[in-house]
Symmetry: C2
Subunit: 182 residues, 2 copies
């Protein structure tokens, strides 16, 4: 091998820093190459094209999110686990709003698989409720939809009114928990 300076992972690292600092719209091959100290076409040695880079970034973000929410659930069960999972979810979004906005639900199988890993965490957190197969999946979808919807709206400044977002999210958590007792 020659000059192992860059790699697909390293390119994604650069892309993530770029997104964090300048927003998802700034994610361009030219900008990434510039930051990596390399000419634009060189990136094609590590990444198929811009669409794939976006997908790789999305996978990285979803895996980070899965890792944190998974860690938050450890050692807790039922309501406490759900609350911890949702709090960890939002904490990640608040810490990296641009990163979260950069996620694209592409048709790429790699992104779908990352989504599955995230759903697996949610399903694990729901285990204590003793839901049957299909019911567990429906519940996991609802939890994901609630957390994701709030996250998207907060990350993109969709909430206008000045009321405390912490309180709104606390209500959402209580709503989800109440709904799970059905």
């Amino acid at each position: 091998m020659a000059r192992a300076a860059l790699s697909a992972d390293a390119v994604v690292d650069v892309a993530l820093r770029l997104v964090d600092e300048e927003g998802p719209a700034a994610l361009t091959l030219a900008a990434v190459a510039s930051r990596a100290g390399v000419a634009t076409p060189s990136l094609y040695k590590h990444v198929r094209n811009l669409a794939e880079l976006r997908a790789l970034v999305s996978v990285r973000v979803m895996d980070e999110l899965a890792e944190r929410t998974g860690r938050a659930v450890l050692g807790r069960s039922a309501d406490e686990a759900i609350r911890a999972l949702m709090l960890a979810w939002r904490a990640y979004v608040v810490a990296h709003p641009h990163r979260y906005s950069a996620v694209v639900q592409a048709a790429e199988p790699m992104v779908a698989q990352a989504g599955d890993r995230l759903v697996a965490i949610v399903l694990a957190a729901l285990r204590a409720y003793g839901l049957e197969d299909s019911d567990a999946i429906h519940a996991a979808r609802c939890l994901r939809a609630a957390a994701h919807g709030f996250a998207v709206l907060e990350a993109e400044n969709g909430f206008q009114l000045p009321e405390e977002l912490d309180e709104s999210y606390d209500l959402l958590i209580r709503m989800v928990i109440a709904g799970l007792r059905t």
Copy 2:
């Protein structure tokens, strides 16, 4: 006035048809101009730039959604109103998935105002629960987050497993309603 062939509204019409047929990524000034039978720079006589066109499209979509959900709520109250609102929300998304994906939560004030109009519908649907000012806003945010999160995931094929989405959404509705009794 001369040659009133095109107008900002007409441009948005063309853009919406384009998005419906080819997806949000195809929304480009060149493509819109081509469909409108006009040269690309001519669009600037009706729209400030691509960002504004995206914002105008978003406003149109959010207003359509507000109109339909608002109509669904008419004559119903409490749980029935909530259920009707959420069903209308998803019905719109299923009917026009690309359109929904094209919505951008931009910083533009016009988009924020359209969001406010949508929130107003939600607040009206919640009136029967007799929530006090701030509580109503928190509840409206949660309902919006739940409906929007599910909509985004469904519109962008975020749900992989084969379970019936209708059932999942029905559970989400029941969760929201159960949560509102708190």
